[in-house]
C-alpha cells in the first residue's frame, strides 16, 4: 500500500520531469525537469533496497551531471529559446513511426507473457544493495568462490581506464584551438564565429 502511494507520487514526478525535458523551450527548465526525474528514480531505488545506487544516483547525477549541464547551458546562452520547427521534412514522420514501433513492440512483449516474473505478485527475495555487498561484488578476490566473487573485477578496472580516457579527452577538447588550421587556410580569426 505504501509502495503504491510512493509509486504513484514519484511516478508522476518522474513523468512530469521527463516531459519537461522534452518540451521545455528553455534548456534550464529542461535540466530542472531532468533533475526531478533523477530524484524520483532515486526514491524508487530506495524502495528497491538499492540504497547505495540511490546515493550514487543523487551524488553523481543530480550533483555532478546536472551541474555540468547547467554550466554548459549557461555558457551556450540561456536566453536564446530556439524554435521548435523542424527543417528536415522526413524527420518528424520517421520519428513518429519509430516511436509507434517501440510502443507496439513493448506492448507485444508484455502481452505475450514472455517474462512472467514481471507480473508476479510474489514477495521478492530481499537483496540489500549495501556498500559492503557491492564492494564485495566489485573488488573482492579473496572469497572461497573466487570465480563468483571476482565477476565484476575486470569491468571495474576497465571503467577506471574509461574514466581516465574520458577525462583526458575532455581536457584536450577544452584546450583545442582551431586557430592554426584557420591561419593555414587563410581565414582570419575575427570572422570564425559569425560568418560560418
Amino acid at each position: 500500500m505504501v509502495e503504491m502511494v510512493v509509486f504513484i507520487l514519484m511516478g508522476a514526478v518522474a513523468l512530469a520531469g521527463a516531459l519537461g525535458v522534452v518540451m521545455a523551450r528553455n534548456p534550464v527548465y529542461g535540466a530542472m525537469g531532468l533533475m526531478a526525474t533523477l530524484f524520483a528514480l532515486a526514491v524508487f531505488y530506495v524502495v528497491h533496497l538499492a540504497h547505495f545506487v540511490a546515493v550514487v544516483q543523487v551524488i553523481v547525477y543530480a550533483g555532478a551531471v546536472i551541474t555540468l549541464f547547467l554550466f554548459v547551458i549557461m555558457f551556450v546562452g540561456v536566453d536564446r529559446a530556439e524554435s521548435l520547427t523542424e527543417k528536415l521534412s522526413l524527420q518528424r514522420p520517421a520519428a513518429l513511426i519509430i516511436l509507434v514501433g517501440v510502443v507496439v513492440l513493448t506492448g507485444a512483449l508484455v502481452v505475450t507473457d514472455r517474462f512472467d516474473w514481471v507480473i508476479s505478485t510474489a514477495e521478492p527475495a530481499q537483496v540489500v544493495g549495501s556498500i559492503e555487498e557491492i564492494g564485495e561484488n566489485l573488488i573482492s578476490v579473496g572469497s572461497s568462490d573466487v570465480r563468483q566473487a571476482s565477476r565484476w573485477l575486470l569491468p571495474f578496472e576497465a571503467t577506471s581506464l574509461l574514466l581516465v580516457v574520458a577525462a583526458v579527452g575532455a581536457i584536450s577538447l577544452a584546450f583545442y584551438r582551431p586557430r592554426r588550421s584557420e591561419e593555414e587556410t587563410g581565414t582570419s580569426d575575427s570572422d570564425t564565429g559569425s560568418n560560418r
Binding site: P27, W117, A125, L173, R196
Partner: protein
C-alpha cells in the same frame, strides 16, 4: 493491489519513450543529450526492479557501470558541444552539416 515489477517496467518504458521522442524531435544538442540521459535512467530503473524481483545483485552492479559510462559520456559530449559552440556560435544540430557529402 500490489506493485509488481511490471509497474516499474511500464514506467521505465514510458520514460524511455519520452526520452527517445526528445532525441528524435528536438534539434538542440543539449536537449538531445538530456534525452539520452533520460533513456539511460529508464533502463537503470528496469535493472534495479529486475534485481529486486530476481533477488540478484547483478542488476545493481550493472546500474553502477551504466552510471560510470554515462558520466564519462557526459564529460566528453559536453566538451564537444562547447568546442562546437566556440567555433560556430550555435548548439543546434541542424546547423552542423560539415560531414555532408
Amino acid at each position: 493491489m500490489i506493485v509488481t515489477p511490471g509497474w516499474y517496467m511500464t514506467l521505465a518504458a514510458v520514460l524511455f519513450l519520452i526520452g527517445s521522442g526528445g532525441l528524435l524531435l528536438r534539434n538542440n544538442a543539449l536537449i538531445m543529450f538530456m534525452s539520452i540521459e533520460l533513456m539511460l535512467n529508464a533502463v537503470n530503473l528496469t535493472f534495479v526492479a529486475a534485481s529486486r524481483a530476481h533477488g540478484d545483485i547483478g542488476g545493481q552492479m550493472a546500474v553502477l557501470f551504466v552510471l560510470v559510462v554515462a558520466a564519462a559520456e557526459v564529460a566528453v559530449g559536453l566538451a564537444i558541444i562547447v568546442s562546437i559552440f566556440r567555433l560556430r556560435r550555435t548548439a543546434s544540430v541542424d546547423e552542423l552539416a560539415e560531414l555532408r557529402g
